[in-house]
């Protein structure tokens, strides 16, 4: 979700919406872009808000803020926050190790980090369930200690941790790689210990990227569906995530109900998107400085 950095527009000859250019094809490519964007994304998305607006305020509140829905939001956002925090810690360690150290099999490890981007969520979901079920490789090992993961809220955290890792690693990695050794050498020559150098020099430099990675992992986790539903157990008021509640409403042909919850989720996504844009701006300024 990294937004593209664009150079400031050149001030020359900007009378209308478009600057004059000898390049051909603006009408055709721009026309198709706006048409396809509207038909596939914007008009269908607007349907959520227009349908919700038609429900009236009371109808909206009754579904979107019902007891069951509030439990579902709490689980979706709470589990997403825990998973993104776990990923922030381990993602930083993984990025650090990949950028700074040499070890056998590094290229393979580097490729494996992107597995959650490439592996279909349903496959991840059934695989994690098999691992963490009471008779699974990990579940059987945890069961004697009284720890249950599969079919519990904890299972949701496990699934969301799986899908979120690459967001943190791939956001922090380039910033760490860009951090030249000069500043660290300067800190060391001024008598700073390794830990002081990390806390005072490296940490402030990578913090914006780490926060961005956290936010990206969190945003993805809040809306995640496929990897979660197999492992969660899906009990209302307990292990039912918000996207599943939308599906439940749809299966009961309660389209307004599904739409009201979807509108709430969409607003949350837009707020997150805005926050991510601010964080990326902070990150870019920090890198440019």
């Amino acid at each position: 979700m990294t937004t593209v950095a664009l150079p400031a527009a050149t001030p020359r000859a900007r009378r209308g919406l478009v600057e004059r250019s000898i390049m051909p094809g603006f009408g055709l490519t721009m026309g198709f872009t706006v048409f396809y964007l509207s038909v596939i994304v914007l008009i269908p998305l607007s349907a959520v808000f227009i349908t919700t607006a038609g429900m009236g305020f009371d109808g909206f509140v009754e579904v979107a803020l019902s007891q069951r829905a509030l439990y579902a939001y709490r689980l979706s956002f709470g589990a997403a926050a825990i998973a993104a925090s776990i990923n922030a810690v381990f993602g930083l360690v993984v990025a650090w190790v990949l950028v700074r150290y040499e070890f056998p099999g590094k290229r393979l490890v580097n490729a494996l980090v992107d597995l959650p981007f490439a592996l279909p969520t349903a496959v991840a979901g059934i695989a994690l369930t098999a691992l963490y079920a009471p008779n699974g490789w990990i579940g059987a090992w945890l069961a004697p200690h009284g720890i249950k993961v599969a079919f519990q809220p904890l299972g949701v955290v496990v699934a969301l941790t799986f899908i979120g890792l690459p967001f943190v690693v791939r956001t922090v990695e380039p910033v760490l790689a860009d951090l030249g050794p000069e500043v660290e050498e300067a800190a060391a020559s001024l008598g700073a210990g390794r830990w002081q150098t990390f806390a005072r020099v490296i940490w402030p430099a990578i913090l914006p990227a780490l926060a961005t990675g956290f936010a990206l992992a969190f945003a993805r986790a809040v809306g995640e569906y496929g990897s979660v539903i197999f492992i969660a157990g899906n009990m209302p008021y307990k292990s039912e995530i918000a996207p599943l509640l939308i599906v439940m409403q749809l299966e009961q042909y309660n389209i307004p109900g599904a739409t009201a919850i979807a509108a709430t989720m969409l607003i949350a996504s837009f707020v997150l998107l805005f926050a991510i844009n601010l964080l990326q701006g902070w990150s870019r300024r920090r890198m440019a400085a």
Binding site: M1, V4, L6, V18, S21, M23, P24, G25, F26, T29, M30, F32, T33, L37, I40, V41, P44, L45, A47, V48, F90, V93, V94, V97, E102, R107, A111, D114, L115, A118, L119, P120, T121, A122, V123, A124, I126, A127, A130, L131, W137, F162, R170, T171, E184, E185, A188, R194, G223, E224, Y225, G226, P243, I246, V247, L250, I255, A258, A262, S269
Partner: protein
């Protein structure tokens, strides 16, 4: 990379961090991947093959290939055209347009499916008109294709926009001033410059198109042999406690993921300077 002792950690600390990172990746990524293949072959080769050559599984594979064969090329055309408009011209609201192109990545897959139910479903905006003309989109293949287009919408564009931005437009301007027309300029100048980046975007787009679950699940209707893609077929088998068959079909998608990762790594290694490798 050799660093002086003052700018790296003591040896024990390095090995501790490497062990921590590898341990986490093993637990969180490698084990789930291994579990897919282990569960698929738990009852032997014959049970595995039986799960894959079953007619409903074959129908699901065909549908998945068909959906990707429509959604990916359309997104290629869109991605190229959006990148051309955005990087070769200056216009107002450009950053707004880029944000809107990225929008599908921030929408929950379930909501991505729901939006088409609201437009094309029986009670949706176009529902009555579609019924009158006997066109079915929701709970049929067109709905699955649309939902897939939505979730894969940004992949090609977000790879090409930063890449073509970096490359500038001098090459194209030179070709135009030497008398080439727009199409010639695109096929002979731009396309060779962006081909590896384009392939990179297409790889990721295709992986998501074939693996999408949430959005497709909402619009599919789950009709066996007709509107089940491979991920949906896996869900049905799994819910029927037919675990070996579910994991057998899952190995095919896991294989696709591994091939995607291998090609992606190869591209990053071989053509790093001709790609824009960013987050998702």
């Amino acid at each position: 990379m050799s660093r002086s002792t003052s700018t790296t950690e003591p040896g024990w600390m390095r090995w501790l961090l490497i062990a921590l990172a590898l341990g986490f990746l093993l637990l969180n990524l490698a084990l789930p991947l291994a579990a897919v293949f282990f569960e698929a072959f738990r009852k032997g080769w014959d049970a595995y093959v039986a799960g894959i050559i079953e007619p409903d599984a074959i129908a699901a594979m065909k549908l998945t290939l068909l959906v990707a064969a429509i959604a990916v090329p359309v997104n290629i055309v869109f991605g190229i055209s959006a990148a051309w408009a955005i990087t070769k011209f200056e216009f107002r609201f450009k950053s707004l347009l880029i944000t809107l192109i990225d929008l599908p990545f921030s929408v929950s897959p379930v909501v991505s499916g729901l939006v088409y139910v609201l437009v094309f479903g029986l009670q949706g905006w176009l529902g009555p008109w579609l019924r009158e003309h006997d066109v079915q989109i929701i709970f049929a293949v067109p709905g699955i294709v649309l939902a897939t287009m939505f979730v894969t919408f940004p992949f090609v564009a977000r790879e090409l926009i930063p890449l073509m931005q970096e490359q500038g437009r001098e090459d194209e301007e030179a070709a135009i001033s030497l008398g080439a027309n727009g199409w010639q300029t695109f096929t002979r100048v731009t396309l060779p410059n962006i081909r590896w980046g384009l392939l990179y975007g297409v790889l990721l787009c295709n992986a998501r198109a074939m693996g999408e679950f949430g959005a497709v699940s909402v619009v599919s209707g789950h009709i066996r042999g007709l509107t089940n893609t491979m991920p949906l077929h896996i869900e049905i088998l799994y819910n029927e406690y037919n675990f070996v068959a579910a994991f057998a079909v899952a190995t095919l998608l896991a294989g696709l993921a591994l091939v995607t990762l291998a090609l992606k790594t190869l591209l990053e290694w071989r053509y790093r300077d001709q790609l824009h490798v960013g987050g998702h």
